[in-house]
Symmetry: C2
Subunit: 218 residues, 2 copies
């Protein structure tokens, strides 16, 4: 009985993995449910049984992404120095890379899918909270000289960076392959540019530390 | 004779205006050439005579956008204070808003259209140059305390802001109408957040000036 109840769940999970891969490779608008079922080697009816429409697939993948970010967010509490912030931003960009189709087609997706629209607003709010927690931690650790409240628009700009940096990398170099070293490079750039936003507000020692990242690579 | 030679040019221009409006309203992937000709009240054959494929329409609109930005860019040379920078960023965001479909569907457009891919890389390079010129001007005017070279990644981050801010506004509030006051609000936000990036590097007087923008609205 255990096996039979587990099997549909495994199929559902496999469907999500293959769908995510196809969405990331070709862009969500260019992937039909027929392509998904043929890639999986299952019948359209079987796919339909698990996910009656593409919208449900998208929403299920978004739910996974939300869980990944919800697991990451509490780590912002422990950030005290730019080294911690670097690790945090890196992990955030890596999660965003795994679900990159969402960002690539974001405006299009949001205009078609109401549920997604609401969920994305929550997600942005959580991102904003995580960034504010991180800035508070840096201030507490003495790395940030300026009071977080006095940074004004900067926390929103950081959220914007976390949201769009990988898109910007794509626009700068659309032909870049997506192999591990390229991904590493893009994630590195995003992390570095995010930290750089704070440079004018860091203690001298931490600014020096930040400069060492750009020279050596992260 | 003057009239007959002018007429096709006028039609071509009208086609571009209506196409731009449709692309902005519905997103380029959702606008067919049939929709364009029917909106114009001309035959598909007449549209085809001027623009044999949607790609040509996109490229012609991009060329217009490039001209708009090329006319703006030299103004970066005259920027000395945050007030000048504010006017410059505002104008840049306003031009980007006029051609917003390009940014909304950018990744998708670039993956389909080779010409666009090359042109967009030029455009990013020109943006980068304009931003660097602006930073140099601010330093020359005494508004920026830090040498532009020492700002490191910050100029690229500004380019990124100029490229994606309006998308970010859409994601934050997809149901916002696009009436004049909303557009003004989005452009104001983008301008403010761009200037805020520099806050840690501004002279005290100019930082104070910047703070007054956020209180009063721009």
């Amino acid at each position: 009985m255990a096996t039979s109840s587990k099997k549909p769940r495994r199929t559902a999970q496999r469907i999500l993995e293959v769908t995510l891969d196809l969405f990331n490779r070709f862009g969500e608008p260019n992937v039909s449910t027929n392509l998904i079922s043929s890639e999986l080697g299952i019948s359209p009816g079987n796919l339909y049984y698990h996910y009656p429409a593409k919208e449900q697939l998208i929403n299920a993948i978004l739910a996974e992404f939300e869980i990944a970010l919800a697991e990451l967010a509490p780590q912002a509490q422990d950030v005290r120095h730019v080294d911690d912030a670097r690790i945090f931003f890196r992990a955030w960009f890596e999660a965003s890379w795994r679900y990159r189709f969402l960002y690539r087609d974001l405006s299009d997706l949001l205009s078609k899918n109401r549920h997604l629209e609401q969920q994305f607003r929550h997600l942005l709010r959580h991102k904003q909270q995580a960034v504010e927690t991180l800035l508070k931690g840096l201030h507490q650790g003495g790395a940030l000289k300026t009071e977080p409240q006095a940074l004004g628009a900067l926390s929103t700009t950081l959220v914007m960076m976390l949201t769009y940096w990988l898109n910007f990398e794509f626009v700068r170099n659309p032909r870049r392959t997506a192999d591990a070293s390229d991904v590493n490079h893009m994630v590195h750039n995003g992390t570095l540019h995010s930290l750089q936003l704070l440079s004018g507000h860091l203690s001298d020692e931490q600014r020096h530390r930040l400069r060492s990242f750009s020279d050596t690579g992260i």
